[in-house]
Symmetry: C2
Subunit: 315 residues, 2 copies
């Protein structure tokens, strides 16, 4: 594969222009009780309220909008167990681009349903990197473009617009924390934030990113075990390079702490986020002393999880 | 009781100025799939994301901010099974006003807990209007001000700021729909909306408002049975007068339709609302042909309901 050049700040500005009117300008929420409990000011960027239910719509849309007319006509495909597939499906439906998504057989039902609802064509494959790569290689022969979930300059630039928007909505942030899975969101945040510190949060059970940054060599994905089903993939190669250059720190978080953070967000902020979103708040709590008195942005990455009232509603 | 003059549009403007920086400027959400399904454009004003978890914080804060210094020092009390009590508690804590809330013994646990968390002092009373009135009469002897949940000019004006804000956030609305319980939110909407049509939504099992408007005589509350636990009170006297003059229509909604609307909001908008909020969307669906092609604002009144993932998170 030829060496792909890393995206830069300017690419995020360009992506933000392309996405104007296409994506939802998601709100930023704050909560006095959470701030008091953690001793800092937190600004939650609600990408769970983004179209398709996740920030992934930014990158997927940017990638499709960047295609030439003949490429759009040929259609695109991807491999995704969740939010990227749905995001690409919804963006494709809007632009009239045919989208095929290979979905691993162990994908959460709600995410598979969301991909189906987007209008994308689903192909079921075995779980794991091998089946993904095999599918991608075969499918590329059809002439369709492969739009990968995270390791692609247009995807990274698109995801970076979430942080760019946050910085326009909130003055004088000291830091931004995002979840880390494949690294598109976090790498995009690193590029968008410029002088502001950016931190990542990664599940302890899927800490290949942490080990990659420690060792300087990109590590394979771990067996998929964390409740953060969106963060189980291997850190992408481009993203790894960007994180090596720009990341201020990566926090490894236990699932039980992510679960507690999820409950706080649901109960206090009154919004539905998936565990992969809540990990960033769990990381902040874990590193509370580090962020004492600071103004911290948290990107809530997605909300694709089934929810119901704790008590049945009597009708 | 001396005749209290009805609040007017100017009172809402004044309330909005008072509340500047005190309340949350809540976001407005839209959803393409819901719009397509219902054949109109819906703008959801997210008062579930308001401080204290409900629009009630607007009226409670406005009422406390309107008090003279010596009145604030004397403290206030109210009777509330839910969101008004918590709202008054939180507003009181912020302004250093002592707040006592009489809570009926049948109040939902989450709402009672929310009142407790606000810092208010709780007194448990029997359910029903009689116990409420008895408590209010006795407590008034202490010199504390009674801040009623809805039938008060400052409360109505405060609640009206939700609609005022919505009209600034969204151009060219054709109509606004709000839930109807005691009538503070709906009466406030009527005053704020001026030339725009305002509709109410009321549970079929608690339709004293509908019967009052039909008969021209304010009817007593019905036995509390609907899943819309925030909408079980009697329509207030001031609110009744305002609705008689300004309301464009009132829709009576079955609980099963409210429950379905609740699920749509949770799943599609990714926000947690209580049944009393969802009734407005259920009413819109019921009256779909009436609103075809229109731009409709819906005030999502509150989000104080316990929620959990449908599938347990495996940690």
């Amino acid at each position: 594969m030829p060496k792909i050049s890393l995206p830069r700040y300017d690419d995020i500005i360009l992506a933000a222009e392309r996405l104007q009117g296409f994506i939802t300008h998601t709100p930023v929420l704050t909560n006095t009780e959470i701030n008091e409990a953690l001793g800092c000011e937190i600004f939650f960027k609600c990408e769970n309220l983004q179209k398709s239910g996740a920030f992934k719509y930014r990158g997927a849309s940017n990638a499709l909008l960047a295609l030439a007319e003949h490429e759009r006509k040929a259609g695109v495909f991807t491999v995704s167990s969740g939010n990227h597939g749905a995001a690409l499906g919804y963006a494709g439906a809007r632009l009239g681009v045919s989208v095929t998504v290979a979905v691993p057989s162990n994908a959460p039902a709600i995410k598979r349903n969301n991909i189906e609802a987007s209008g994308a064509t689903i192909v079921t494959i075995e779980p794991g990197m091998e089946a993904r790569e095999q599918f991608a290689t075969q499918r590329a022969e059809t002439g369709e473009q492969f739009i990968p979930p995270y390791d692609h300059p247009d995807i990274i630039a698109g995801q970076g617009t979430a942080t760019l928007e946050l910085l326009k909505q909130v003055d004088n942030l000291d830091a931004v924390i995002t979840p880390l899975g494949g690294g598109g969101l976090l790498a995009g945040a690193c590029l968008a934030a410029q002088d502001i510190k950016v931190f990542g949060a990664e599940p302890a059970l899927a800490n290949d990113g942490f080990e990659s940054l420690q060792s300087g060599i990109r590590q394979p994905a771990k067996p998929p075990r964390s409740i953060c089903d969106g963060l189980l993939t291997q850190l992408g190669a481009l993203n790894f390079e960007i994180l090596q250059r720009h990341l201020s720190g990566l926090f490894v978080v236990e699932d039980r702490d992510t679960k507690a953070a999820l409950e706080v967000i649901w109960q206090r902020l009154k919004i539905i986020v998936e565990p992969s979103s809540a990990i960033a708040l769990a990381a902040l709590k874990q590193e509370q002393t580090k962020f004492a008195g600071k103004r911290v942005g948290i990107i809530l990455s997605g909300g694709n999880i089934a929810a119901e009232p704790s008590q049945p509603l009597q009708v």
